[in-house]
Assembly symmetry: C2
Homo-oligomer: 255 residues x 2
């Protein structure tokens, strides 16, 4: 097994076999990868409403029906086995990381597949705009902000954003290109002036790795798929299961 698999079903079957437990970045280029969140049906309406009210951090690729494990966006797939890693939270606390959740599956589990930024990052780089964290092989820089998400039922909390330094001359272009990918968080939520959104030190991210910002660059902020997970955990659900960081669900949809 290697991380250069090009067919989405191959990535999923490798995950299912238990032999592929790596992050999915670079796998099946061009296909949409998704953050995954599973909540029991008792909380599913509130969480769906939260996503509907916060489409930039929570762009819904698909919501599976209660108990359903095969998504329409990946016929033949099994959501309970095909990711390279899962995290299980009870009462908001991480209790275990595993490579298969079949043994935990409940008929009332509702699975949310939420877009991630991979497809828009490829398009940005193809448009000739370099992305420093990719060039340096680091995780993207992420911050909690002071921007409140629109609450829904038990779900509320601040928006988490990614930050990418962009040359001044490329800022308009990066807005245009990212706007073509609403399922990958769409246009930026904020450009420049990090302190306005509660970020006081760009060298100290809340998640991921810091990157340098050069004098001719502007920090550009996009809504981040970590938001719904952070919010779901903060709401201290009795049970909630997510993908392990970077270990996404790979769909058959071209991004």
């Amino acid at each position: 097994m290697n991380t250069l698999m090009t067919i989405p079903a191959d990535v999923r079957l490798a995950g299912r076999s238990g032999q592929f437990t790596q992050p999915t970045a670079g796998c099946a280029p061009g296909f949409i990868q998704a953050n995954m969140m599973i909540v029991p049906q008792a909380q599913a309406f509130d969480f769906l409403l939260f996503c509907q009210r916060n489409p930039k951090p929570c762009p819904l690729v698909e919501v599976l029906g209660p108990g359903q494990v095969e998504p329409a966006c990946a016929p033949g797939a099994n959501i309970a086995t095909d990711l390279p890693g899962y995290r299980v939270y009870r009462d908001g606390e991480l209790v275990e990381e595993r490579s298969d959740i079949s043994a935990l599956w409940q008929d009332d589990f509702v699975t949310f597949l939420i877009g991630c930024s991979f497809s828009f990052e490829s398009a940005v780089m193809q448009a000739g705009i370099p992305l420093r964290h990719v060039d340096q092989g680091r995780n993207v820089t992420m911050f909690r902000t002071n921007m409140a998400c629109a609450p829904a039922g038990i779900f509320q909390g601040p928006m988490v954003v990614t930050m990418r330094p962009i040359k001044s001359r490329d800022v308009a272009k990066v807005v245009e290109v990212s706007g073509r990918f609403p399922l990958a968080h769409g246009t930026p939520v904020h450009i420049g002036n990090p302190q306005t959104i509660g970020i006081y030190d760009l060298s100290k991210p809340d998640y991921g790795d810091a990157v340098e910002i050069l004098p001719d660059e502007i920090p550009v902020f996009w809504a981040c798929g970590v938001t719904p997970q952070a919010v779901a955990q903060a709401s201290r659900l009795p049970l909630c299961i997510t993908h392990a960081p970077g270990k996404m669900f790979v769909t058959d949809i071209l991004g």
Copy 2:
């Protein structure tokens, strides 16, 4: 009271007073108007999922929390009083039309506001493309199709579409303009060849009025906000409340 009110809050207060019971077409030009659907919370997850899976017929402007009557898109408004007319369905049957539903209100009512085509029609006409049903003062032509909506729980059924005859030279432009209004059903779902989607006689619409199609025109079909109502009624919910035809909820959002 007249139908030329220009301020959304004036239209809503007129509806609340009980003195304005007319369709809202032409009221508060430029502001988004919405189809309204109220279902009890027991069916709300399924209906929200249905809308999420069928964004062209069911573009969500807003979903209110259980029991909530004041939408974020219209501060100060009351969803139970501010429409010029309501329809109450029990077990899928229309049982009454009334101008106020305060007396029927339940704490578990979840209100869905779903975009309608008014904003995109204004933009199309401003782009120099005439719309025959508007010019002739008729209702838009609507058909049930053989295109199945993506089902969700108890909700399933065919998509209802509107048809507008468009000159061949303007078809690309009308796609472009309507695409800018995803909350008004976005781009067409079908262009030309009505029989492909199960429409065999354009002169016999299932809802609304027929209009002539001239030799240099193509029938262009858009997803229609009647779809969720038809589907909700067909599912024979114990209780469901909608706006009366043409008597929309007027929001404070510019379209």
